[in-house]
Symmetry: C2
């Protein structure tokens, strides 16, 4: 029976795709992937040069967002309709043959495909192939262990309220902050208030040839894409509980 | 110039090794890896059947631990001597040819090789190849997204004090708890106190043929290896800050 194979592609370097995902992508007759309208799409970029010449591609283009605030009810409805329509379309497509869905990072770790995965439960067989999360590509670019020993590591979204960011950064050893972009000034204030700004890095396109690694304190907060990641390293100095 | 190539091998399934690490491992003339005395070693097991017939192997065997408590000062000194000696030995070896170090998961994410990496800074060129963290193999085995949307995810060690585990579990959406083993009864009490025990999973050898996935509440706490991982899924329902 045909199925959907959702392949995590890792942080961006095609050499960091898993052996299995590499094999599935190269053999695929049908591939689908998310992208913004008019953009190539990050997942599709990672597999450039790997696809069969006769592959059929299904770019799933997000609805245009310039007219609506991304946190408005109308936009949420537009997005739900978009996911519903693509879930139906993929379910029909996969009646005939396997379909590979291309996903950045690891699909089960904050992956967009999960919106379709939830809608396709019980309708279609789906294999999910784990990938290296984008954050691991970013901390590898810095070349220091993100966490060691008994470190507590927290993964946060830059969309959280400033006071909560400050509190969580201040009580964690290692910190990963995603969804930066226009939240970067707020993130920087929260890190400074927690006394961690001097240790923070901003990494963009980690593992790719054009990766950018900078001390967060040196970055212009107006110049940060949404998908750049802020990292603070744990020091591995936390003691275990006495038992 | 020769160098050390530290290859993250992912959670255990050889099909989840990255294309690059797969290539480095198969081409290696010299490989080193940690293991417990008398055990094959998890990193070495992952690459079974992949090594060159003429490969030279350097098992780095942890000092025997039965006589000393693992949190004693004597054991810490024994371990430091062990890392010092192997750092020196690897530095000598790599004068002649490249050496591949085999590591489970992702080397920069709580990886044991970091003890050698720190000691070898400035002495030897070291490439670290990112891998899929063990926890990603575990949450993939369950087949649900570990974190979504604005979820806060916390990675904790089961060695932390019970009150702290309870507090952190209660204030996180998604939770990963490593270093379980003899800490499992404490972890279970902390999850129950935080009202999250019913949502918790225990996963052992995630991604491997003999993987074990169970509801934590159904597990005998005496029957848990140190490297099994406890997972609680985030629900993706946290709202972003209004701006």
């Amino acid at each position: 029976m045909a199925r959907i194979i959702c392949c995590g592609l890792g942080p961006g370097d095609p050499d960091l795709i898993s052996v299995r995902a590499d094999r599935e992508v190269r053999a695929a007759s049908h591939v689908a992937y998310f992208r913004k309208k008019g953009r190539p799409g990050q997942a599709r970029r990672i597999v450039e040069g790997m696809l069969r010449p006769d592959v059929r591609e299904y770019p799933m283009e997000y609805p245009v967002t310039t007219e609506l605030a991304v946190d408005s009810a109308e936009y949420a409805r537009l997005l739900a309709d978009f996911y519903d329509a693509w879930a139906d379309r993929l379910a029909r497509l996969v009646q005939e043959c396997d379909l590979v869905v291309l996903c950045e990072g690891d699909p089960f770790f904050y992956g967009s495909f999960m919106h379709l995965y939830a809608r396709l439960q019980g309708r279609v067989a789906i294999d999910v192939v784990a990938g290296i999360p984008g954050m691991a590509g970013c901390w590898s670019a810095i070349g220091e262990p993100i966490a060691l020993g008994n470190d507590v590591m927290t993964v946060l979204m830059g969309t959280l309220p400033e006071a909560e960011l400050e509190q969580r950064v201040g009580t964690s050893d290692a910190v990963v902050i995603m969804k930066t972009g226009r939240n970067l000034a707020k993130i920087r204030r929260a890190l400074a208030a927690a006394g961690r700004l001097d240790q923070a890095w901003l990494v963009e396109r980690g593992s790719m040839p054009d990766q950018r690694v900078a001390r967060l304190k040196d970055v212009d907060t107006a110049d940060c894409p949404y998908f750049a990641i802020v990292l603070v390293h744990g020091g591995g100095s936390r003691q275990a509980a006495a038992e």
